[in-house]
Amino acid sequence: MNPLNVTLILGTVFVSVFLQCTLTGFRNLTGVQPDLLPGLVAYATLTSGLGMGTVTALCGGLWVDSLSHNPLGISIGPLFAAALVMERYRGMILRDQTYAQFLIGAAVSAGVPAATLLLLLNTSNTPLVGWSSLWHWSVMTLIGGLLTPLWFWLFGWLGRQLSYETLPDAGSQSNRQIKRGRG
């Protein structure tokens, strides 16, 4: 795990959780607060492996539950499960393709809230669930899908801006001439 990458991802997760709590414009417009964490876990797992995915799921889950009425730690399980499944099939996912990023982001954004709700319903909590939760779920899926390619683009751009540019290796040019003898 690259320290710069770790810092960037965890910093973004932290700010995203804060924005989810304070920005209400989209919620007032559509009645739905988009969940930014599943897309970030997808990015972290697909680019940096299960270790980073686990750290993102742990920190993100703890942070979001601390600002919510959720029982502390309930969001960690679904986020980690998503990271584990993605890691299991990481070799088969075309993670550089935008449509694959969209589909993965949408799938994770659909699965994580559904699993969290299922866990909540199996505890002593009674979350607000009704037919209109389908609307919430659809919007969260769509927004999660749209945001995931954006995360890939944003972190790629930040990585290029904040790290040294790789210089081409001068010793391995294909057109290099090797002169032997006294010529």
Partner: protein, 269 residues
């Protein structure tokens, strides 16, 4: 099949979550408080940015507009003074009657203004966060109203500097109410329609003989002991008969606009 490293990660996460769930409520509340404390600098930053923006808007407002606002506020203040003096007389009369009939004294509410700093990030709760906590003397379950006096909800979790308010329509916020004109009692519960429209809640456990009309005001009944009597909740939107006519159920349009809360008042009854 999972690899060894994946098994290790799985076991570690499961152990961590189980350890969290096995803690006592008090310990979990403390951990939650400590973790949410990490966000305090960001909340402070957002507050400062908001203040700066407000000052900027204030500086850009023309003097003539400020003057007209001041005049209208002075007029409103004068008319409220006259009303207050009339009500003072009624209050004294009420107190005399209470003493004559040996009824318990009604103490005035103590109010404390709080700023709404955030909303619950999860879509399945209706909660907001305010910037008052145990440091300011708050305790759990205190009622919260808007600055206009409409009921908003109650405190559900109280931290040192921040608290969570369960809004009307949240499963954790049920209120005993009465219909102002008919004096029918019922309980405000979350809307069966689901979490999208947060301006409507259900009024349940009404007697079948209740005669409800759209537009009737609903106020807190004071029966639960948690909410003082008489706080405005909303107006009846419609009603229907349920359980083969054994009960009546109504929908109530909330008076408080829960999407636009910026400042609220915590009430000490």
């Amino acid at each position: 099949m999972l690899r060894r490293s994946q098994y290790i990660a799985l076991v570690l996460v499961v152990l961590f979550v189980l350890a969290l769930f096995s803690q006592s409520e008090r310990t979990v509340a403390r951990v939650k408080l400590a973790v949410s404390g990490l966000f305090l600098p960001l909340f402070g930053l957002a507050h400062s940015a908001q203040n700066l923006a407000d000052r900027g808007v204030g500086a850009l407002t023309p003097r003539s507009e400020l003057q007209s606002q001041l005049e209208s506020l002075q007029r409103e203040n004068d008319s409220l003074r006259i009303q207050a003096s009339r009500w003072q007389e009624t209050l004294q009369e009420n107190t005399r009657f209470r003493e004559a009939f040996r009824l318990p004294k009604q103490l005035p509410w103590r109010l404390q203004l709080a700023r709404v700093t955030g909303r619950d990030p999860a879509n399945w709760w209706r909660n907001v966060r305010i910037d008052l906590g145990t440091r300011d003397g708050l305790t759990n379950h205190l009622p919260v109203i808007t600055t206009q006096g409409y009921l908003v909800g109650r405190l559900s979790e109280v931290g040192y500097m921040h608290s969570q308010v369960a809004l009307l329509g949240d499963p954790d916020c049920r209120v005993s109410v009465l219909v102002e004109t008919t004096r029918d009692h019922g309980v405000i519960t979350p809307s069966d329609g689901g979490p999208i429209d947060n301006t409507l809640v259900d009024l349940k456990f009404l007697s079948a003989s209740s005669v409800l009309q759209p537009g009737q005001w609903v106020r807190t009944s004071g029966h639960s002991g948690m909410y003082p009597k008489g706080i405005l909740v909303g107006q009846i939107a419609d009603s229907r008969s349920i359980d083969f006519g054994l009960h009546l159920e109504a929908r109530v349009k909330l008076a408080a606009r829960l999407n636009e809360l910026e400042e609220v008042m915590v009430v000490w009854p």
